[in-house]
């Protein structure tokens, strides 16, 4: 996290002061308190539920506070098939989430339509919303979802802005 301990010699401040940058502290907090918004529309959502439940326990990584209101969340997990009729709903939910926000596209269907190359299915949600991490698999194992959350955390630590941010203010 870029911590530096100040004060090497004998004295009152010895090891009691740390210096860092404000961004790093904020990102450290963000990373460990991701609040996911689940968008489960099909079988992948079952694996997402398993990931959140006690057996795999996503809360070990600080992301267990599932919010069903997009306004309180900063990580959108798209898990399942998205039809053309559902896409406006997903877009609306994404738009309602406050910045900074990250998106995980879970499974083959959300990422590219999967085996459902049919008249009604979106062939990849990234045509409409920016996706930060894709998970392959049909369905992906809960470990894969945990790995994706860890990748999001890595992105946050590294200071990279989410894909959804169009203008980056320096």
């Amino acid at each position: 996290m870029g911590l530096d301990f100040v004060g090497q010699g004998a004295g009152e401040t010895d090891g009691n002061i740390i210096t860092t940058t404000i961004d790093k502290v904020v990102n450290w907090g963000r990373k460990n308190s991701l609040w996911p918004m689940p968008f489960g529309t099909a079988c992948c959502a079952i694996e997402m539920m398993a990931t959140l439940a006690s057996k795999f326990d996503l809360s070990r990584f600080g992301s267990e506070a599932i919010r069903f209101s997009p306004r309180q969340s900063d990580l959108l997990i798209v898990s399942g098939r998205i039809s053309i009729k559902m896409m406006p709903v997903l877009k609306r939910i994404y738009d309602q989430m406050p910045d900074p926000k990250w998106v995980i596209s879970m499974g083959a269907c959300a990422s590219c339509g999967g085996v459902f190359d049919t008249y009604t299915l979106i062939q990849g949600v990234d045509q409409f919303i920016p996706v930060d991490v894709y998970i392959p698999g049909c369905p992906p194992r809960p470990e894969d979802l945990i790995d994706a959350v860890l990748q999001v955390q890595q992105k946050i630590t590294s200071g990279a802005s989410p894909k959804g941010v169009e203008v980056v203010y320096e």
């Binding site: 053309i84 009729k85 896409m87 709903v89 008249y119 299915l121 979106i122 409409f128």
Partner: protein, 182 residues
């Protein structure tokens, strides 16, 4: 004589006996050979027959399980059997009293897609008929609210028809995402 060769005479199901006695002219075909009773009914008398099936105290098919349709346009054997009717509307019924199921099939020609609605008999027919309309374009006359139920309102065509292309007619690309009521 070998016992296995003796075919046991199955009693004729009550439903078939009663239909033959009361609605013989509506009955186009019947089959009870594979555990489910299937009857094919002429379209003109579908309302009368369905009402009879529901209200007759001995039959009492009070539960409409499903309404759907089949597009037989590529099933030559089926087409020949029923005067080249392209669609077959299918009703699945259940009788709690007799604990038995019944499948009622009605041939529908492509040039006359109208069929009387069953919403007056079973409330559950409402959404099921909307789905059949959405997917096959069958027009249920007398339905209180015959709109699409699965596809978007401005969708064109009926996608479960066999001549509908699997990848669609470009609606994935041309769908207006901004104009939808969310």
């Amino acid at each position: 004589m070998n016992e296995e060769n003796q075919v046991e005479e199955q009693p004729k199901p009550l439903i078939l006996e009663k239909l033959e006695a009361n609605h013989a002219d509506a009955l186009l075909a019947q089959d009870a050979s594979r555990g489910t009773v299937v009857v094919v009914i002429h379209k003109d008398q579908v309302s009368a027959v369905l009402e009879y099936l529901k209200t007759d105290p001995e039959l009492a098919y009070t539960f409409l399980v499903d309404v759907t349709a089949v597009d037989n346009s590529q099933m030559e054997s089926e087409l020949m059997q029923f005067d080249y009717a392209r669609f077959m509307v299918v009703y699945q019924l259940y009788s709690f009293q007799g604990q038995c199921r019944l499948r009622v099939k009605v041939p529908v020609h492509e040039n006359d897609l109208n069929i009387p609605s069953a919403t007056g008999l079973w409330k559950s027919a409402n959404w099921l008929e909307r789905e059949t309309y959405d997917m096959f374009g069958i027009n249920f006359e007398g339905h209180p609210d015959l709109r699409r139920i699965l596809m978007p309102d401005d969708f064109e065509g009926h996608p479960l028809r066999k001549d509908y292309p699997l990848r669609g007619r470009g609606e994935r690309e041309s769908f207006n995402f901004e104009k939808q009521n969310v």
